[in-house]
């Protein structure tokens, strides 16, 4: 059966604010799913969308798939349980920056460490939307919010860097308005065996409007972001004249043709490099020193937790004589009373 985006729309009214970036992500995912279904041979009933609590976490209600709107911060754990219980499911975790990096930070890094085969979409609007505008672990230093009337005094997490620190195998980044890129990354995430983390830089029109616009505004976007593609040189800019090179053991943003830089000096993106060091640097790139990296930053093959659990089960069962409870109960130290 061939699906259309319409097949993934539930009958529930979408209740996000008009103009919220979440709408675009919903659209992108609803467009990606038919393609994923076709490529990977998934029927609709194999999808489960799991979330925590937050505006973005309302996501499952809008999907005509199996869905679980969990509790705040625990989506990764719920999703892990589902996937281990039934590895044939395609499990998608929808989560916010508060949900997955504040209260849910631990479950996130453990899911990543285990490399459980789920797809995590992190809606990063750098604010708590649902509770009306408190700072989040990704709010920039000095953010004035309802709980930081004089500005925050803490460094934000960089979700990509955190994922590297937790030994992540897949990390990608997109912008809410880049529907096409988002769609593409969702497909990449689905393809990847292991924990895929896709960060969406998302706008909250109500409580943190324009938080990403310094890089995402249409006029500057091409110059302030770079879409990385595996095997391709790290070139960006409206005029494709900017790039990244290696400077000692660090990265450097350069202009091709300036200071004797040629196209050949430009680094080629290797998303499949095992070492986390370079991917870490790519994740951490910040405007104005660097363009912000979009696309698939890291994608390396590794054993997945759910597969290994299943394999171990089979292996142990194959070696064992015990086939049922009656066998088991009678094995080992027993005695008979006559």
């Amino acid at each position: 059966m061939k699906f259309t985006p319409q097949d993934f729309k539930s009958d529930q009214e979408v209740k996000w604010c008009p103009g919220c970036g979440d709408h675009a992500v919903l659209a992108a995912i609803q467009r990606a799913l038919p393609e994923i279904s076709e490529e990977l041979g998934y029927s609709r009933e194999r999808y489960v969308f799991v979330s925590g609590i937050g505006c973005s976490s309302r996501f499952p209600y809008y999907m005509k798939t199996y869905g679980f709107h969990g509790i705040h911060g625990r989506a990764a754990a719920i999703a892990t349980g589902m996937k281990v219980a039934n590895p044939t499911l395609s499990v998608w975790e929808m989560t916010g920056d508060g949900d997955s990096l504040a209260i849910g930070g631990n479950h996130l890094i453990h899911a990543i460490r285990r490399n459980i085969d789920i797809n995590i979409v992190l809606f990063n609007n750098r604010i708590y939307g649902l509770t009306k505008g408190q700072y989040s672990p990704t709010s920039q230093w000095g953010s004035v919010t309802r709980t930081s009337p004089y500005g925050t005094v803490e460094h934000p997490f960089n979700p990509g860097a955190l994922s590297m620190g937790a030994r992540g195998t897949f990390f990608a980044r997109t912008l809410d308005m880049e529907l096409q890129l988002t769609r593409e990354l969702m497909i990449e995430a689905a393809r990847h065996d292991g924990t895929s983390l896709v960060e969406v830089l998302q706008n909250c029109v109500i409580f943190n409007d324009k938080t990403h616009s310094i890089i995402s505004n249409r006029e500057v976007r091409a110059d302030r972001t770079i879409v990385l593609r595996h095997g391709e040189p790290m070139i960006y800019g409206k005029d494709k004249d900017k790039g990244l090179i290696l400077d000692g053991i660090k990265l450097k943003a350069v202009t091709i043709g300036k200071d004797g830089i040629t196209k050949d000096d430009i680094l080629v993106h290797n998303a499949e490099e095992q070492d986390h060091g370079v991917h870490m640097m790519l994740c951490e790139m910040q405007w104005p020193e660097f363009p912000v990296a979009l696309g698939v930053i890291r994608r390396v093959k590794d054993r997945t937790y759910d597969d290994m659990v299943r394999d171990q089960l089979t292996e142990v069962a194959n070696k064992s004589q015990i086939r049922c409870m009656n066998d088991m109960l009678r094995s080992g130290d027993t005695w008979v009373v006559e």
Partner: protein
């Protein structure tokens, strides 16, 4: 001079020594031997929170008590007939458990200046300091004898001396005319790769046995005849293992694969450890990053169609409270095993208590009822776990199985059941879309049981969403006052109706009259023993020991009506009695409570009743 062999009804032996002395193993070998022989037994390990506190100190003392009988024994015994104390600290901290004429076995080598000092003795006569006078004392120089044996079998003295527990065990076998075969077998299997260790252990065991045959202190030996037991295959089982197996049995009987998301915590860890072994039966265990992930992975697994279980103890139960509420509102089957330990907070983790009942009953935000079942003995944990799973699966509710450290670690012989004698479990799986429904309505209920159906991801056309927000029967989020009121009511009523499928409450002893003793959970053995003793003393009481806490059996009220006085015994400040006051305020309840991190003593129960009677 041949010893006289005297028949005794039952005997209590307490093995104590340093955490490194292997007392847990020694005790269980003795218990197994007695069980194989046909005695009834009950055991109770009593160990410290430290792994290996400094050798010879009071905080390092570990104990294991075995009660063996020629008829049924229900408790590990209040006081002991024989105390094995491998060092002065063990003697000092266990002297309070001696019966007036108990036998004491010590390794006299350890009663040197250093050993006495470590145990905090002030003089060089530990016995005098402890005012031990009337007891039989068997005091071989075990350490030096063992060291000598090591030299003989060609082992270095350090490894050799680790076997000294076998010496004490040998003495005990002699004292009770027991066979050493089981222990010999065990040793041969355990050290199969190290013949020297086999030789050493066997030698020391026999040395102990032979020593006992020659020493003057032993005038007579005893025999505890086998008890009359139903024919069948038996094994020893402790409560934690029984829980694990009961859940596995429920998985087999329901066809739902078993999933356990958990986090280690004393004294519940053994359940997770046991489940992890049984991958051959398809058991999946996931040791999570914390207790919250433990329950949340289980909730995910439950949604995905597993018999989902999470295991913990007190502090972990607290941590799971929020997510347990999610399981309640999402109406998903889940078994939460809580093996109680001394609280509050970290409390006294290796000691037993019944102080989590309130938390189990009430410890969640909002109107959030769960079913609660309490096992009453180590082997009953099997059945209790099986039925906890059955009710969870068939009624689509979380069930708390409220065990206790005393049950989890304690063991007793168990007649292995045949799985065909257990009922099948039929979860209300949804297979296809109802006629006339545009989509699957997840909270449409069975009119009789109020149970909703379970539609597993992967089933075509049953796509639906559940979650923590209040919903209507169709599964749409709703904050309508009447929807909320109705759902709150239905979630509670659904649990209440489980009462229709549980057995009626039994009363032991008098069926009506002046006094009804009420209790629940792991105090069963002590209550039962107290009831028999009272009966022997011609004091007539009934005993209603509850396994089902929520819902209570349907005949509870009717039972209470038949007695003039109701007295509720608990190892807490009165959680169950207050619950009864809320459920049946028409009765007047008395209560007897103990909060010492220790089980009841039969004598105190008897005394409490005597006080009421006189």
């Amino acid at each position: 001079m041949p010893h006289k062999v005297i028949d005794v009804q039952d005997v209590v032996i307490r093995f104590t020594g340093d955490s490194g002395d292997g007392m847990q193993l020694t005790g269980s070998l003795f218990a197994d031997t007695a069980a194989f022989f046909g005695n009834d037994i009950t055991t109770f390990p009593d160990f410290p929170a430290e792994i290996r506190a400094p050798q010879g100190t009071l905080s390092g003392v570990s104990g294991y008590q075995v009660h063996i009988g020629s008829s049924a024994v229900y408790t590990p015994g209040d006081y002991c007939d024989v105390l094995v104390a491998m060092n002065p600290a063990a003697l000092k901290s266990n002297v309070k458990w001696l019966k007036p004429n108990a036998t004491i076995i010590v390794d006299i080598d350890t009663f040197d200046e250093k050993g006495l000092k470590k145990a905090g003795f002030k003089t060089d006569d530990a016995f005098k300091e402890l005012k031990i006078t009337h007891h039989n004392i068997i005091a071989p120089p075990i350490t030096s004898l063992t060291a000598e044996s090591a030299a003989i079998v060609g082992l270095d003295p350090k490894s050799g001396v680790r076997c000294k527990n076998m010496f004490a065990l040998g003495i005990c076998y002699f004292l009770y005319n027991m066979s050493m075969d089981h222990t010999i077998n065990f040793i041969q299997k355990k050290f199969v790769k190290d013949q020297a260790l086999i030789n050493m252990n066997l030698k020391v065991l026999k040395d102990g046995y032979n020593y006992a045959g020659t020493v003057e202190a032993i005038a007579d030996t005893y025999i505890v005849k086998p008890s009359k037991q139903e024919p069948g295959i038996y094994r020893n089982i402790n409560g934690n293992i029984a829980v694990a197996w009961g859940l596995m049995a429920a998985s087999e009987k329901s066809g739902r694969p078993l999933f356990c998301g958990s986090y280690p915590i004393t004294p519940a860890t053994a359940i997770l450890e046991e489940l992890a072994l049984h991958k051959d039966l398809g058991v999946k265990t996931l040791q999570c990053e914390d207790e919250i992930a433990g329950i949340c992975t289980s909730i995910g697994a439950s949604y995905a169609g597993s018999l989902a279980v999470t295991t913990t103890s007190g502090p972990g139960l607290s941590l799971k409270s929020e997510a347990l509420g999610l399981a309640v509102i999402a109406e998903l089957p889940l078994v939460l095993v809580n093996v109680q330990r001394g609280g509050p907070s970290t409390g006294i983790p290796t000691k037993t208590e019944q102080t989590d009942l309130n938390q189990a009953l009430y410890g969640r935000n909002g109107e959030c009822p769960v079913a609660i079942i309490a096992p009453h003995s180590p082997s009953h944990c099997f059945q209790a776990a099986f039925y906890a799973a059955k009710h969870a699966l068939e009624h689509m509710v979380p069930v708390i199985l409220l065990s206790e450290g005393f049950l989890g670690n304690g063991s007793e012989p168990w007649k292995i059941p045949d799985m065909k004698d257990f009922p099948t479990i039929n979860p209300p799986l949804a297979e296809k879309l109802d006629d006339n429904e545009p989509y699957f309505y997840p909270f449409r209920r069975d009119p009789e049981t109020l149970v909703r159906r379970w539609a597993l991801p992967g089933t075509p056309n049953l796509e639906h969403r559940v979650g923590g927000l209040e919903k209507n029967h169709q599964g749409a989020v709703s904050s309508d006052p009447h929807v909320h009121e109705q759902m709150v009511h239905e979630r509670a009523e659904k649990i209440a109706r489980i009462a229709h499928v549980i057995p009626p409450q039994e009363v032991i002893g008098e069926q009506e009259g002046d006094i009804l003793m009420v209790s629940w959970g792991g105090t069963y053995g002590h209550m039962l023993s107290a009831e028999s003793q009272l009966r022997a003393d011609k004091i007539k009481v009934g005993l209603a020991h509850f396994d089902y806490i929520n819902p209570l059996p349907l005949n509870t009220e009717e039972i209470f009506k038949r007695f003039k006085k109701i007295i509720v015994f608990e190892l807490n400040s009165g959680h169950f009695v207050n619950y009864l006051r809320a459920k049946f305020p028409q009765f007047t309840y008395m209560q007897y409570n103990k909060i010492q991190g220790q089980p009841f003593i039969v004598a105190e129960i008897v005394e409490a009743i005597n006080k009421i009677v006189t």
